[in-house]
């Protein structure tokens, strides 16, 4: 029998095909459309004349204002998810009884069993002025609870919908650091806090980055969560992109907006990363040790 041997990269082919078909191709199409124009009332796009004009049309004060609002919601939402999800993931991976962890992970995933839109609308029902939250507040003598259609409601929805995406990679990251390394750190005289800063956190960093990107990137493009709970206060740039594709049927302009959005997401992720790197530089410097010629 002949022994069929595949080259090493063969295993990665499905992943590359997947990436090519579902990511690179659509983005390529959008990129291409963004240089075209809308040909007449009933056409959506044409590329026989190429220009950068659509990008000029994108850069309006409206787009900029909406962008700032979107960025605010995305950054605040990501930060909240990190602040809330971080300790939860740490507790799950480090402090909780190991026998519970499977169950805890399952509980984190429970919301995913239901359609995301339905869940968000569920919150709308809860947060309405005469909804459960308000009734509960009034039942215990508090004033009526009216946060629907505010930024607070948007952030609540964002945390609710995106928290699992933060907790899961953080859990994996904290879990992978492992008890032995934390014990080694304590054995060498570091208390729990120092152990966290010098061992757990640096080793969990890739997971933290994944979690932050996993929340931040989709959040920048999501407008459903924000509009369902925030109403006018949940206006997101994704909505403008959708409006161009759907209502205006101007795919060229919509594409230019989408490309701009992608660029800004990449850029802002890079800026945030660079800032974090800079902020942590003194600490890394303080702990760096190059022996050179000492003592030898």
């Amino acid at each position: 029998m002949r022994n069929l041997r595949l080259p090493g990269f063969a295993l990665a082919i499905p992943a590359w095909v997947w990436l090519a078909v579902f990511f690179i191709a659509p983005v390529g199409v959008v990129f291409w459309y963004s240089f075209g124009y809308k040909p007449g009332l009933f056409g959506t796009h044409a590329n026989d004349k190429l220009s950068l004009d659509r990008y000029l049309e994108v850069l309006t004060p409206t787009f900029f204002d909406t962008f700032v609002a979107t960025m605010w919601i995305a950054l605040a939402g990501t930060a909240l998810c990190l602040v809330i999800g971080g300790p939860v993931a740490y507790w799950m991976a480090v402090k909780s009884p190991p026998a519970w962890r499977g169950l805890l992970l399952a509980l984190v995933l429970v919301p995913f069993w239901t359609n995301f839109l339905v869940r968000t609308i569920g919150w709308q029902v809860i947060l309405a002025p005469e909804g459960w939250a308000s009734q509960a507040a009034q039942a215990i003598g508090l004033p009526a609870f009216d946060i629907l259609y505010t930024r607070a409601a948007v952030l609540l929805g964002v945390v609710y919908n995106y928290l699992p995406l933060m907790i899961l990679p953080l859990y994996v990251a904290f879990d992978r650091v492992g008890e032995p390394l934390r014990e080694a750190s304590r054995d060498l005289g570091a208390n729990r806090l120092r152990t966290f800063w010098r061992v757990t956190l640096p080793l969990a960093r890739p997971g933290i980055i994944v979690g932050v990107l996993l929340v931040y990137i989709p959040l920048m493009g999501d407008y459903i969560t924000a509009t369902v709970l925030g109403g006018a206060k949940g206006n997101m740039v994704g909505q403008m992109v959708a409006a161009q594709f759907q209502t205006a049927q101007n795919w060229a302009l919509g594409s230019a907006m989408a490309v701009t959005l992608i660029l800004v997401i990449v850029l802002s992720a890079g800026v945030v990363g660079a800032l974090l790197w800079l902020v942590s530089w003194p600490m890394r410097r303080a702990n760096r040790l190059v022996l050179g010629e000492v003592g030898s």
Partner: protein
């Protein structure tokens, strides 16, 4: 409604119909799902394929495929067609006209759909792209049961391609506990939005509906393309209305009215009726038809140019236009179907709040047809600006 169990939600039973409704006609889901799929599919816009065989009244095919808004036909009517005429019906649904058009264009005649239900203003675009089948009116004698008033609209003056399926209009609903005076016109709407209902006002999430309020209030043609008029609308809406808007909501009847989220809402009549019927306190709400002018939108039966079952499609159109089924349809969807004498039938059947479904000839005279024209791009721009301003 039979399909309640299809929606798995972690909310109370009372909330289920609300959520379900959000998922159906023109709901969010379509907006969420539409963009990605249409982009990939629509690389080419030339419709093609062989023209479908003409319908001549021969034997019916044994199947029929309907592509329509979610939850838009009474199930018993569809079942009756299959049991009486034979063809088995397959239903598929869309959430926006644009989604439906994109799919038909991308499929290049292979979509397999027989019947589609476009909104009137999109019919010229569908015709221009060769997506509609020219009806064989000999096979649809029941068109005589359709009220003349709803035939021959601007988008298809001779009903060569389409026949009224349901129509509605726009007005507003207000909370009488918050606004303790009588509102009658769009000017009153603006006034209440600026005063009692400031921060508690919602408008429809659709650019022409919002600019429409200004045009209707000021006696300007809704379909205007005059830049000066458009600029004036933009200025007014941005300065006078935007600061008071708390949501852009196309379906306040789904949740906002039953839950009293807003005090003043621009709303389509059928949705307003549903919301007030579902409210724990219906007397709290007042419906007002937009005045001095408002719109008339109409969804229409049409047959796809590439229909694989044209005989069955024609038979179906003739079947649903039979007055026998008019009440079942109106009861199910809550909008006027255009059938003659339907008002009387609905009253006899004991349906409630019919003043929000049927209108006097004087009122009908104030309702304008929409149009997709060169102003569309500006309307979208105004819509985006309004949203940015209201969200600030």
């Amino acid at each position: 409604m039979a399909a309640n169990d299809d929606v798995r939600i972690l909310a109370s039973r009372a909330a289920a119909p609300i959520v379900r409704r959000e998922l159906s006609r023109r709901g969010f889901l379509a907006v969420a799902g539409g963009v990605g799929t249409t982009m990939l599919l629509a690389a080419c816009t030339t419709p093609g394929g062989d023209p479908a065989p003409a319908a001549t009244g021969g034997t019916l095919e044994n199947a029929l495929s309907i592509y329509t808004w979610g939850d838009y036909d009474a199930p018993e009517v569809l079942e009756a067609f299959t049991s009486e005429k034979g063809p088995r019906i397959t239903l598929d649904s869309y959430g926006s006209n644009e989604e439906m058009i994109a799919k038909l264009v991308a499929a290049k005649g292979t979509s397999g759909y027989d019947i589609i239900v476009p909104t009137g203003v999109f019919i010229p675009q569908l015709i221009e792209n060769g997506l509609l089948y020219k009806l064989n009116r000999d096979l649809i004698p029941n068109i005589e049961h359709v009220d003349e008033a709803y035939l021959g609209r601007v988008w298809d003056p001779n009903n060569e391609y389409s026949i009224c399926k349901a129509w509605g209009t726009t007005g507003f609903v207000y909370d009488k506990t918050v606004i303790q005076r009588e509102l009658k016109t769009w000017d009153d709407f603006f006034d209440a939005a600026k005063n009692e209902a400031s921060g508690k006002t919602s408008v429809l999430d659709d650019p022409v509906e919002i600019t429409g309020i200004y045009y209707w209030a000021n006696g300007i043609d809704w379909d205007t393309t005059d830049p000066a008029e458009i600029d004036a609308a933009e200025k007014f809406l941005l300065e006078e209305l935007a600061p008071h808007i708390s949501a852009f909501d196309s379906y306040p009847g789904g949740a906002a009215i039953p839950q009293a989220t807003h005090a003043l809402m621009q709303v389509w009549n059928g949705d307003a009726r549903l919301g007030i019927m579902n409210s724990p306190d219906p007397d709290r709400w007042q419906w007002v038809l937009g005045s001095p002018a408002t719109e008339l939108w109409m969804d229409n039966w049409a047959i796809s140019a590439s229909a694989p079952h044209p005989e069955a499609a024609h038979a179906f159109l003739n079947f649903v236009l039979d007055p026998e089924y008019a009440v079942a349809q109106i009861d199910y969807i809550g909008y006027h179907t255009g059938a003659k004498g339907i008002e009387q039938m609905a009253e006899e059947a004991g349906l409630g709040m019919l003043d929000m479904v049927f209108f006097t000839p004087e009122q009908l005279a104030t309702m304008q047809d929409g149009e997709i024209n060169e102003a569309q791009e500006r309307n979208v721009e105004i819509w985006n600006k309004l949203k940015a301003a209201a969200g600030a």
